[in-house]
Symmetry: C2
């Protein structure tokens, strides 16, 4: 570790960049180097993705433990490229050895749709004669085709077209004026785009036609609000400043904040990846999580009419949460002292591109950390909390997902997601009944019911990699009321069920029992409680997957069938709906169900495990969600239980502390004095 | 309304105080006036509570609608007094007419325990020979009795003593030094205190004795942390300032903030009471809630061993959330520009007393209010939110409850509660097995499992008092996979069940269906969605009451048997576990179960209803909760659904807004300009 740090310092002095941390995302230089190496052997390729092939865990754990005496893991690029005839190649390029170490033509799959892939479709659609014809049928003349827009989605899966042709479905809209929100003007038909031939191969047209909406625009941008009477003027500023700067330090992409130490990675798929998360427990650096990420999502829509069943976006696997990330230089998203990180990707042509300010790191005041007043004498200690927020925001066509990874001083890790942006909308005729599958949120605008289901991948490392997961329910004690053992009926306890094998690890949510899941290290026992050290997943927004068993979404989004799955760690298992998600049929179901089915008896007890947690919300739209949705938050916590021997944040300086004996803490002098307490609050 | 305001202005000019708003809590002067009126007719009384007898709803609704032409409701004091022989008197004093309008001797009840009642017990306990004897048996010599402390609780209910003698149970502790936390030194026996005779009438002694703990102190106050090595020095300040002051205005106790208008009341029992909550919807002042409060709580502990079943505090009904409220001048609890309100009570002797700074009102930045980026051109609008927080904190012996009523710009009302303070603890011997009913959080310290169950009372007024409550589940559509109506199995919808009568209004929580409850006005239909205007209760921390059916807690805390009860409005129904809670046997169960049983067929459909919601958490302690608990938050939302025709906060000025046409919003000039967007964030 010493040598490793010296290297960094030396490189700083000499002006050479330090070697990247093995978990660092590939730099622009590394991406272009990978492309150059591939181009020596293969030509005519478009690039779909080039990202870090993360070091194998066993190798990396050794290096982390002793970087000075362990070979540094090689920098390896994980490549997806598309050749002529939509041929898909998966490869690995060793950047240290400057050679391709793996190259494979992968049949029958479609890699995700990039932003570039998406951008092409609108132009094609506007020129397509059959689309122009359909527009005409619902009242859009050919000269208005420049006012026609589309949100291109992957096709999901459509059995008429299968998996071998690379397709997109174009959800169609109209804008009376270029600045109007098109989501008030959804069109009723859906062209299918062939990405290989760049043409419209089919149009799904509903039986009942719905002419383009005639309602006035419903806009939210500043000019529209000004025109309606302007902005309110009674909001006075709340200034948040950090005159002494931030409380964290960066070593490359490793952040040190309070007792936390975390490597902040990023990839095109998952967005933020947090690795090797440790907590310094009074000098003892204790591993907590090896890796945390949002690994997948699915957003099924609830309208059974054709072709709306195809609307079930896997936003991470089909588009990439990293690829869709906002540059936070375009819109002020945070307050206070902000540290930004950029994100580098490959483009279709093989050049590196960068999203500036893709990741935001900042601190916030977090209210009361703890407080207690002695009712006898009003002696009181109150301590305020700060929190560290590592965030990015991605735009998935109409929707915005704001992802906040939050570290607390008490050892808690929180994931908060805010949903904002715009509802996906469909056309409806005046007087039409949405039949319970959607809501008319504005005249002529049907916003369909939908779920947002996220899959959190937790690779626990609770005082080491040998962990076990328990399902924990609050349960009533065994004796009946009146019995000797439970006379008054008040006995209750935490009932624990070990998720001991892959095949028996599925667990659903139960709100009534306040169900949680504990990731524990059975080899490390808390000296006070005599219970294994653990982190508890507390997640309360856990709806069932509503699409039915055996149906399309159920088959394709196998990870979402249960709130929890546990697998034995495998380096290759990162993507719970599979590596290439678009146009999977769900037969067989890729990712989690396949891994578990391959070895249902694999032990997940006291070994290196991964916990997969599906959570989210079910959204029945209403007019107040339109024309742009007020942010809807959801959150989950990873909380230490029996991990520490004591509240780990007692050394955070208090706002105020006084004692029964009459002394008090002097905040300015940072020491206790015997003076009598007095008021400390500004009125 | 005009006349009413002129009166206020006039009284300001003349120096006379304006008349109180009919919902204002009684002032010190009014409290002492009530005492004086009572004393003319009754002597020898101790006062338990004097609080506003709130104006009858029908009378008050008329006055609110037209204060200039409607008689002002009289100021009436609601009095609980205790006479010789623990006789309890309930009365009403009309302060306008200066006379007692109701006076009654109430048999077989015990009014709540005040802070004064609590403070007496410790002194008595220390002098009691039998307590001294018990202390001796577990290792505390008589000369150390000044180091013996107790948290006096109501006895709950103990069938050996019944309801006629006013009792407290003393949970016993020891402090090696006056500044040591006694919760590390729980004693194993429990004296029973007779409040009438001021003596210890019984001591519950366990079969297995547990000598006083020998572990070193486990303290969290500043001097202790200093002695252990001091506070961390790496936390740099986050300054929150409001240089132009607050964005709200006060008219007496009515707060106007953004579109919200709310009367802020307070009483000894519920603490904060919010009344006549309206939202100004583009000039149309729309009623939302008539009254919101935390009406009751119960904290059952899960250890079935005698006498721990008696630990199930009704913190509001047995002690008073108002009475136990912290003065926020003793401990800096909020940041920014704070507006405080005091709270006046009567003391035992009949004098008025005031808790200074009992209520805190302030604003906070609330992150992103909404955002959307157009992926085609990166045009973006992002708007930040503020929120208004009305809060108080109360200390219930060991625990702290921080109650935050939060108003959002998007029409959402949020209730957030943070639990902090100290675990209730009991003694354990070295090597003793807590048998699943508790956790050894520190050597010799057993923290028992417990629940915190709160009862939120919502008196909805959704565009008027005629409301209906629906239970809403996310449900799968009817057709099987492959059927014509649901070919791909993706159909889902919001399944609604009307809670039409009191007797059929009970609803439990279902996390799997994302169950919510909608309070709607069936007479007011949203013009776009054609659904009734409503507010939806979104609450995700809703454990079942774990004490068993027929057991003591189940009988006494009838409100907690279900997540939801709905009742037809009745002025007299404020306290869901009854008006006088201590020493109720639960036979019959007071409050909600009694009201519903009295008229199970009473319609709750399209009439004036009250929704009672029990929510909370189940807490299995662990060492990190000790010696003081990091704040554990829980929250619920009341969200407008089909109430507005549009996102109601579009007129909040954006941080940034740019359009596809190239224009952007200029924040400084507060108008749109055609300049190209550029970066707006400080790095």
């Amino acid at each position: 570790m010493v040598l490793e740090r010296l290297k960094q310092v030396a490189s700083h002095v000499t002006g050479q960049s330090p070697p990247p941390h093995p978990f660092d995302p590939l730099s622009e230089v590394e991406i272009e180097k990978a492309v150059a190496i591939i181009r020596k052997e293969h030509d005519g390729l478009f690039f779909n993705a080039i990202t870090l092939w993360e070091p194998r865990k066993s190798e990396m754990m050794k290096w982390v433990a002793d970087p000075d005496h362990t070979p540094r893991p090689h920098r390896i690029a994980d490549v997806v490229a598309i050749g002529r005839g939509s041929k898909v190649y998966d490869g690995h390029v060793d950047l240290n050895e400057e050679k391709i170490v793996h190259w494979e033509l992968t049949e029958g799959v479609q890699p995700l749709i990039t932003m570039e892939d998406l951008q092409i479709v609108e132009t094609i659609v506007r020129k397509d004669p059959k689309v122009i014809e359909q527009c005409g049928l619902i009242g859009i003349p050919p000269e208005d085709m420049h006012k026609v827009y589309c949100d291109p989605w992957t096709i999901g899966y459509d059995e008429r077209f299968g998996s071998n042709i690379r397709l997109q479905q174009a959800l169609m809209y109209f804008r009376p004026h270029v600045d109007d929100s098109q989501y008030s003007y959804p069109l009723d038909f859906c062209p299918i785009f062939n990405a290989d031939t760049q043409e419209i191969i089919h149009i799904d047209v509903p039986k009942v036609r719905r002419p383009v909406n005639k309602a006035p625009p419903n806009n939210y941008h500043a000019a529209a609000i000004e025109a309606e009477g302007g902005f309110r003027t009674d909001i006075k500023p709340i200034e948040i400043t950090q005159p002494e700067g931030v409380s964290f330090t960066m070593e490359g992409r490793i952040i040190n904040w309070q007792n936390w130490r975390v490597h902040v990675g990023f990839n095109y798929r998952e967005g933020i990846v947090l690795s090797n998360i440790t907590f310094n427990d009074k000098g003892n650096v204790r591993p907590v999580f090896w890796r945390l990420s949002l690994a997948e999502m699915v957003v099924p829509y609830g309208n059974p009419e054709h072709p709306h069943h195809r609307k079930h976006a896997f936003d991470l696997g089909e588009y990439g949460g990293g690829y869709m990330t906002n540059s936070l230089s375009l819109g002020c998203d945070c307050k206070g002292a902000i540290y930004y990180m950029d994100a580098a990707f490959v483009n279709r042509a093989g050049a590196a591109t960068t999203i500036k300010n893709a990741i935001c790191i900042h601190e916030e005041d977090a209210g009361i950390l703890f407080k207690h007043t002695d009712f006898r004498d009003d002696s009181v200690t109150v301590t305020r909390a700060h929190k560290l927020v590592i965030s990015h925001i991605f735009t998935a066509a109409n929707y915005e997902y704001c992802v906040y990874w939050i570290f607390h001083q008490d050892g808690t890790v929180q994931l908060e997601i805010k949903l904002t942006g715009i509802l996906n909308t469909y056309a409806m005729n005046p007087g039409e009944d949405p039949q319970g599958w959607g809501t008319e949120v504005y005249p002529g605008v049907n916003a369909h019911n939908h779920q947002h289901l996220f899959c959190l991948r937790v690779d626990p490392n609770i005082d080491g990699p040998s962990n076990t997961v328990f399902e924990v329910d609050a349960a009533r004690g065994p004796g009946e009321v009146g019995s000797a053992e439970n006379k008054y009926g008040n006995a209750f306890y935490a009932k624990k069920k070990k998720l001991a094998t892959q095949g028996s690890s599925m667990s659903d949510y139960n709100g009534a029992t306040s169900r949680t899941w504990e990731m524990c290290n059975p080899n490390k026992i808390n000296p006070y409680s005599h219970k294994p050290v653990s982190y508890k997943l507390v997640s309360r927004e856990v709806p069932e997957l509503l699409p039915k068993e055996g149906g399309l979404v159920w088959k394709r989004a196998g990870f979402a069938r249960h709130a929890i799955h546990v697998t034995k760690y495998d380096d290759a298992q990162i993507h719970p709906a599979g590596r290439h998600v678009p146009q999977t049929s769900g037969v067989p179901s890729m990712g989690l169900p396949a891994w578990i089915a391959a070895d249902p008896d694999a032990s997940t007890d006291n070994t290196d495990v991964v916990l997969w947690h599906t959570f989210g919300i079910t959204h029945f739209p209403s007019p107040e969600d339109f024309p742009v949705m007020p942010a809807e938050p959801m959150t989950l916590l990873l909380r230490p239980r029996n991990f520490f021997t004591r509240n780990p944040c007692l050394d955070v300086p208090p706002s105020y502390s006084s004692y029964p004996s009459g002394g008090k803490w002097d905040k300015t002098d940072r020491k206790s004095v015997s003076a009598k307490p007095k008021d400390c609050c500004s009125k």
